[in-house]
Amino acid sequence: MSTPLKKVSAKPELLLSTQHHLCPGCGEPLAMRTILEIITELGMRDRTICVCGIGCYTAFPGIIDVDVLQALHGRAPSVATGAKRVLPDRFVFTLQGDGDMVSEGLQEIVHSAARAEKFTAVLLNNGVFGETGGHMTTTSVLGQRTKTTMDTGRVAEKHGYPIKIADLLAQVDGAVYVARGAMHTPSAIAWTRRILTEAFRAQLEGKGFSFVEILTMCPTDWYVEPSETPDWIEQNFTGTYPLKILKAPA
């Protein structure tokens, strides 16, 4: 007699298609999947507005089954501010990469946190401008080879230091929940699922600005095989960007 198979994984309910044009091994679809699963678990599909930035992840608005406000590069926190202020009972989250949030739009995310805007900001951090082909961003770590730091890697004297945006936002009074996760191992994904849920709950309880940074793999622009990206994150990223809760409501 055969044992019935237990279903442990399936296409998320809120994913309309599994077709996207991101690279094999990319961490961003895993992050999107995790977010969609939590939205389903919390029963929030009908009241969700995703405000999406511009980067590789701009492939998602066409295939996720929630309303999306597409923002320009760097501007998602301001667009989310307008949305959440006029529809305060909706669940509003932003989706931005490191180039979008920390390079182009740094002042918008800091000001939104300071105003204690009651949306959740999600950062997909891979330390490169992936969509343009792998150039240095403000979060590229020291030593990181990118298209614009190819010969030397990122060198502090030449290129300055990476901005630890989660650490910066944790210092802002209006931010109530700040945490960092990653997509490179099953346990990191489980951790990230937990902190995303806590951040979303902080918004739903009206506590203030909540922020989750997610380290995502980019084998194409890190010049490694997809299978090597978990090690790459441990060796290059988590020293600068440790997975932890930096701030939580009392």
Binding site: R45, G62, R75, L87
Partner: protein, 356 residues
Amino acid sequence: MPTRVLMEGSHAIAEAAIQAGCRFYAGYPITPSTEILEYMSHRLPQVGGVCMNAESEIEAINMVWGAAGCGVRAMIASTGQGISLMQESLAELANAQLPCVVVNMMRGQGDYYQATRGGGHGDYRHIVLAPSTVQEAVDLVMLAFHLADKWRNPVDVLGDFILGHTSEAVEFKPLDERDLPPKTWAATGARNRASHNVTPLGAPQKLNLNPGDHYAAIAAKYPEIARAERRVESGLLDDAELVVVAFGSPARFVKYAIRVCRERGMKVGWVRPISLWPFPDETVREATGRARLVAVFEQNAGQMIDDVRLAILGGVPVVPIGGISHDHSGFGVGPALEPAHIVARITEAYQGKAAA
């Protein structure tokens, strides 16, 4: 009996917006638009609206983007310098087909090109309305919200320092807007319906990535707007040998100067474009039917004169009689607006002494 109240232009513009249903405003202080922000910060919360004292012009216009994207009537005001900072968003708001009202209280009239050509990228247009009195500003702000929703496109109201700081008795007459369809396209959370996107990048439907079709559909809208929304006022054209074209506050001074010139026996008339885009080219062309000369008075180095020339297509000569004119504040209230100066410039043109 209609109720008329004495109000400063800036406050009247803000109040007109609120009475037109504006419930979101974001602004960054900048002279001479700041009084709109001040008024909104006090009045909008009284009607359940939201006013954001934003940290930058770019943040302000993108907050407007968010509110407009959720289907709420939203407005922003600034002056040309601040509008310059918003250009990427102003271009893409048109591609996202988001209705909103953008007020530019200019310093002088140097932002005609900025408003009618746009400083942004791509094939977009904004409808541009240029009031010359406080009452007209009230009426055009209300119309601006209507046209923005009707065409799903930003509408600009182009005023100036004088309009913003002149107090006049005004009446608020809300429009009948029952013909406007509900904003079923807005991002509100997909309750009892399919989800959709509000985006400048392509189609609003899910699983439909064809930006080319999307941009072509928007571009096809502009000729329709151009046909339907030309607005213009004119006077004394029947026997006019010289026609003066002017817009906004300076057009009031021009109308007065033309009366003076008429009293002195000169056959002069005037045309005042109210919509700067679409430009009322047919009216301008017809107005010059009997004229031997057209003169353009604008408080800048010569911008609208291009549209006047395009409208007339060489039918008669077109000469500039305005120019840059500021007081020491640099806000565009200059000696060129002295009626005696305008009368002298019109007389010069009438006598054939104006340089082309």
